[in-house]
């Protein structure tokens, strides 16, 4: 008989507590959202760019769900962004649905339906075919939108979109105040949903599929159906982002389907990092800042600098970048946690959970 080294017993209470703590909103997260909402009062006059950032953040969040958590590379999120954008524009223009929030949900549902239908194609084949199919679908939709210019307005864009006030009370004003608050609240709601998904057993199964799809199937995970589900949800989020853009700008044009839009989205996510939900949000802020700054320097050739940034990021290496950002985040998190605990003392947290719950 072999003697074993003494093993400390595992307590159910400890495990339960650890799992709960893992999913708890970290001080840094709470600070982030407080700051985000405070921006409504802190930066008047910047509403338009803030609103664009919020929409981009939601769009990037949708990609993070499939890229960062399920490992699906897609160049075609623009398909869902665009189809919901046009849908929202058309139902507003023809007065079919007059309440923006209801219209938003319907547009998101349309995009999700498209996501569901195309998911079966996307999940077949290699990375390359996946890229092809996702890109192909969005370009195809752009082509359709172009051909049916009598409905969509073609290259000139969808005109005459008249969006009713939200809940009958808040009209979209010129300064963009109501528009920004609207987008920010929608972003927050979608974020909370995404967060629940990610910390749920479903989210855990997605991470297992991304890490080792073979083993995931071998432990009973129905891999294909989980991926279909997250792809559908992601499409819905992208659609909501697209509908938000149409509703707040009262306009929709063909570039919602463009390759540039999908590529810029990848860039946003690469800048911010994938797989921890805040990557899209942080990346969107940095991207918009970069865009603003570079556009002031060289308004016409913005694309060149974006291309250069992409090339440099890849050459430097995403892992190295991720390592830097992780270090920066950890440092900021540590400082933030210490400051927070001085403001609001709590019993010391046990080891294991990183500031953002990873």
């Amino acid at each position: 008989m072999v003697t074993m080294a003494a093993v400390t017993p595992v307590l159910a209470g400890d495990v339960a507590a650890y799992l709960k703590r893992r999913a708890r909103w970290s001080p840094l997260e709470i600070a982030f959202w407080i700051f985000a909402f405070a921006s409504i009062w802190l930066f008047p006059g910047k509403y338009l760019i803030l609103k664009d950032t919020a929409i981009l953040a939601l769009f990037a969040l949708s990609l993070d769900l499939i890229l960062g958590y399920a490992g699906i590379i897609s160049l075609g999120q623009a398909a869902f962004f665009g189809i919901a954008g046009y849908f929202a524009g058309l139902i507003a223009k023809y007065g079919i649905i007059n309440e923006p929030i209801v219209a938003l949900i319907c547009a998101g549902a349309v995009a999700a339906a498209l996501g569901f239908v195309t998911s079966f194609l996307v999940l077949r084949g290699s990375d390359l075919t996946r890229l092809m199919v996702t890109l192909g679908v969005s370009l195809m939709l752009g082509e359709i939108a172009n051909r049916y210019a009598n409905i969509t307005g073609g290259a000139d864009g969808l005109q005459g979109v008249d969006v009713a006030p939200i809940l009958g009370r808040w009209r979209f004003d010129l300064y963009g105040h109501n528009g920004y608050v609207y987008c920010l609240i929608v972003l927050f709601v979608c974020f909370v949903i995404a967060r629940r998904i990610v910390y749920s057993p479903f989210g855990l199964s997605l991470r297992s599929v991304k890490g080792n799809a073979l083993r995931a199937a071998a432990i009973g995970v129905p891999v294909k159906w989980r991926l279909v589900a997250i792809y559908t949800v992601s499409a819905g989020f992208a659609g909501i982002a697209g509908a938000l853009l149409t509703q707040t700008t009262a306009f929709c044009s063909l570039d919602v389907f463009s390759l540039e839009r999908s590529a810029d989205l990848l860039l946003v996510l690469i800048i911010g990092g994938t797989g921890y939900l805040y990557g899209g949000l942080i990346g969107a802020v940095i991207y918009k800042f970069l865009q603003d700054w570079i556009s002031n320097l060289t308004p016409q050739y913005w694309q060149f600098w974006i291309g250069l940034v992409l090339v440099v990021i890849v050459l430097v290496g995403r892992e190295r970048m991720a390592a830097w950002t992780v270090t920066v985040r950890a440092a900021v998190g540590l400082i933030g946690a210490r400051a927070w605990s001085r403001v609001w003392p709590r019993s010391p947290a046990r080891g294991g959970a990183a500031p953002d719950g990873r």
Binding site: A12, S200, P201, N212, R215, A216, I219, V221
Partner: protein, 254 residues
């Protein structure tokens, strides 16, 4: 009727052809309930192919697989897990970025039906927690359960490999060379854990380590060139001169 006599897992004429190569031919395996059944054979004999066929990773070109009286030849791999069959891999197939706790928690959640639950957080069901604790303790992973799997020592990873399969609460557990690559210092823990597996779990074991095979198995099947060669109790197989010849590479007489 003696329930032990009815096989829990059977293959009937199982065959797998890769182009011109016959990786498995006419394999008729019969595993009794509660058995400790070992599948041995020289390298390249097709043992892992048989496991891949049993679990559905490969589709057979002919033959059937029957689990607890139910034909599962066309059942998808993840469905077979739900029907009570789980496996380990010869080379660890783990979730390197998850911790053992998360990995085991995942398997248990899937099994207890919360796998598709997207709203509730992991770990809010006490039934899931209790099972996680039981498995972590059984496989002696308590002191490493919060570490990333990628940085665990190999012996612990191998234990986790088996723990994940065990967490599926299979009625048939297929172990593909569990002791492979495990350093001497960590073998005892691994072997003791395998021996302590509950009696009602049927175990089909592929192994090269003859000590483990002969101390653990109550029935041995020998696979050579994709075909079942000898099948019987350990002492019968040990005494069979043909088995010795196959392992020592001597030509078989007609």
């Amino acid at each position: 009727m003696d329930r032990r006599a009815v096989p829990i897992l059977e293959t009937i004429g199982l065959e797998k052809r890769f182009g011109g190569i016959l990786a498995a031919q006419n394999v008729n395996l019969s595993v009794k309930k509660g058995a400790r059944h070992a599948l041995i054979g020289p390298n390249g004999a097709g043992k892992t192919t048989v496991i891949n066929l049993l679990t559905g990773v490969l589709k057979p070109t002919a033959g059937r697989i029957v689990l607890e009286g139910r034909d599962i030849t066309d059942t998808a791999p993840h469905e077979r897990v739900r029907l009570g069959m789980a496996r380990t891999f010869q080379i660890n197939q783990l979730f390197l970025d998850l911790t053992p706790l998360e990995s085991i928690g995942l398997v248990v959640s899937e099994r207890l039906g919360s796998g598709a639950d997207w709203w509730r957080l992991v770990g809010t069901k006490s039934a899931v927690i209790d099972e996680i604790v039981e498995i972590v303790e059984r496989f002696r992973l308590g002191d490493v359960m919060h570490e990333r799997t990628a940085i665990l020592p190999y012996g612990k990873q191998r234990l986790l490999e088996i723990a994940l399969a065990f967490a599926c609460r299979p009625r048939v557990l297929l172990l593909d060379e569990p002791a492979a690559g495990v350093p001497e210092a960590e073998r005892h823990e691994l072997l003791a854990t395998i021996e302590a597996l509950p009696a009602e779990v049927t175990v089909l074991l592929i192994e090269h380590d003859m000590d483990l095979v002969f101390s653990f198995a109550d029935r041995i099947s020998v696979l050579v060139n994709g075909a079942l060669f000898v099948d019987g109790a350990p002492d019968e197989v040990a005494r069979d001169p043909r088995v010795k010849a196959v392992y020592l590479g001597e030509e078989l007489d007609a």
